[in-house]
């Protein structure tokens, strides 16, 4: 089993900086922006992007967490997962531009679950998707708007994102299939 590091600490920081600029550019400023991270690591990434946007624009935008566990379509195929907390910023999401933030975009099923979850919470004006790594192999017609790194991978490889807030270190590694 081979493991290789594809993003180091500085690469992750650079990717998030670029994503933050792109979000500001496509939204023409911070008006109506709400960032929602998908637990666990998407929440940490959303907070970092919000901090960067505050640095660049001087405006602090609302950040929250959106757990999708109870909306997944594979619940009955896996051992029971414990849901994670959801926190929606006080202003809600009605009429806002919601940017979903996740660490790895793979099949797209988590994002489908997230869209269902959003629908139960309110009606955003638009929903965008930011991801640190896009590793391909989509199973649904979903594509990201903001990508840190496109990472071609085999579907049986594992992509591991480690972040200081959660794992105490910073890296993105790709692990070969167990052989």
């Amino acid at each position: 089993m081979s493991t290789r590091t594809v993003l180091h600490e500085a690469d992750i920081a650079r990717a998030l900086t670029r994503i933050s600029h792109e979000i500001l550019e496509s939204n023409r400023g911070t008006d109506g922006l709400v960032l929602l991270g998908i637990p666990t690591r998407g929440v940490a990434l959303a907070r970092r992007i919000a901090a960067l946007i505050a640095d660049f624009s001087g405006v602090s935008i609302p950040v929250g967490a959106l757990d999708v566990t109870m909306y997944r379509d594979d619940l009955h195929r896996n051992p029971t997962r414990a849901p994670q907390p959801t926190s929606i910023p006080a202003g809600g999401i009605d009429g806002k531009v919601v940017v979903l933030v996740d660490d790895v975009l793979f099949s797209g099923r988590s994002i489908r679950s997230a869209l269902d979850a959003l629908q139960d919470i309110g009606r955003p004006a638009a929903v965008r998707l930011a991801t640190l790594v896009d590793r391909g192999h989509r199973e649904l017609p979903i594509r990201p708007d903001f990508v840190g790194k496109n990472l071609p991978s085999a579907s049986d490889e594992r992509v591991n994102v480690r972040l200081a807030e959660v794992d105490g270190e910073e890296s993105v590694t790709i692990e070969g299939a167990a052989s």
Binding site: T69, M70, N78, P79, R81, S110, D120, G122, V159
Partner: protein, 326 residues
């Protein structure tokens, strides 16, 4: 989790998991759309051999908020009143395709029989059996105490050092039994107060202190004072001379409520006998958690149904596998 039959065998980790998932369920109940798609296509049967409105509608609401289909089966006017055995009833439910059976039964141990007999493959939730246990009531009580104490910081907390006093008919109360075990597992100090005639014969193995005088118990300023309902339907022997005397010595009247002080919450599993075990002053005060308990009951039962039904059957929970499906 395969079944929920009692709190005596529930580990601290499993109990905390149920309470933490219940927190997430409570969050979803603040939303515009309260219904979750999580248990679509699952069937939950409420199998009630004893009358109960509150527990049944709480389970029904919980199952429906998770999009499960609910079938209510009450013994009155059913095949059971025609003499059907528990085995035949269970096998009928199996044939209908029940994924979970919520059972209330007058006989202690009926849920365990159902779960271990091999008659059904469904998960079994004990909704009160005889004088044995009522685990979801204890879980919702623990959830309520934790929520009042820690507020939004409740997740992951146990009840270490919390003083809980349970007052009333301990002898017949499955709520008291479930609470004694669960609260002890979570680290709380439990005191039971009852007339000597309403204490079970041998409680030496219970992790609880027994008192006979309510005023002594109140003087100790418990964090939570739980008044149990005097179940008049079970008062078939002379346990106490009159209701009035019971109320005078073991009821939470206005005077005792005032002595209790503002630091204690007043709990009651409902339905209340106002003026008997609890006064209106206590029941309707801001320190009363009676309605919180009802609200929290739905969330706790959602959590139990979720943990029982959402994953692969028989697979032990492993939340750290969540990364695999990304």
């Amino acid at each position: 989790m395969r079944h929920l039959l009692d709190t005596k065998a529930l580990s601290r980790a499993d109990a905390l998991e149920i309470l933490d998932v219940a927190e997430d369920m409570a969050d979803t109940q603040q939303r515009e759309v309260k219904k979750l798609p999580t248990l679509r296509g699952k069937t939950v049967v409420n199998l009630f051999f004893e009358d109960s409105t509150r527990t049944r509608i709480s389970f029904e609401a919980a199952a429906k908020r998770l999009s499960a289909d609910v079938i209510n089966f009450s013994a009155k006017g059913s095949s059971v009143s025609k003499g059907e055995s528990l085995q035949d009833t269970a096998q009928t439910l199996q044939a209908i395709g029940a994924d979970a059976v919520v059972i209330r039964h007058g006989a202690s141990g009926a849920p365990r029989t159902l779960a271990t007999s091999g008659w059904i493959t469904a998960g079994v939730v004990n909704a009160g059996d005889g004088t044995h246990e009522h685990p979801t009531q204890a879980l919702l009580d623990a959830f309520t105490i934790r929520k009042r104490r820690f507020g939004t910081g409740s997740r992951g907390q146990d009840l270490s050092g919390v003083k809980v006093t349970i007052v009333g008919d301990i002898l017949h109360s499955r709520v008291a039994r479930s609470n004694v075990w669960l609260l002890h597992t979570l680290g709380a100090e439990v005191t039971l107060v009852a007339p000597p005639t309403l204490v079970p014969q041998d409680v030496s193995a219970w992790p609880a202190r027994i008192l006979f005088d309510l005023d002594d118990a109140i003087a100790a300023k418990p964090d939570a004072l739980m008044m149990l309902r005097i179940q008049l339907e079970r008062m078939n022997a002379a346990y106490f001379p009159t209701e009035r005397e019971y109320s005078r010595r073991w009821g939470l009247d206005a005077r005792r409520f005032a002595v209790l002080g503002t630091g204690s919450m007043v709990m009651h599993p409902g339905p209340m006998n106002r003026g008997l075990e609890i006064s209106t002053e206590a029941a309707d005060s801001a320190r009363s958690t009676v309605l919180d308990q009802v609200t929290n009951g739905v969330c706790v039962r959602m959590a139990v149904l979720y943990l029982l039904l959402a994953g692969v059957r028989d697979a032990r929970h492993a939340s750290n596998q969540r990364e695999d499906a990304k």
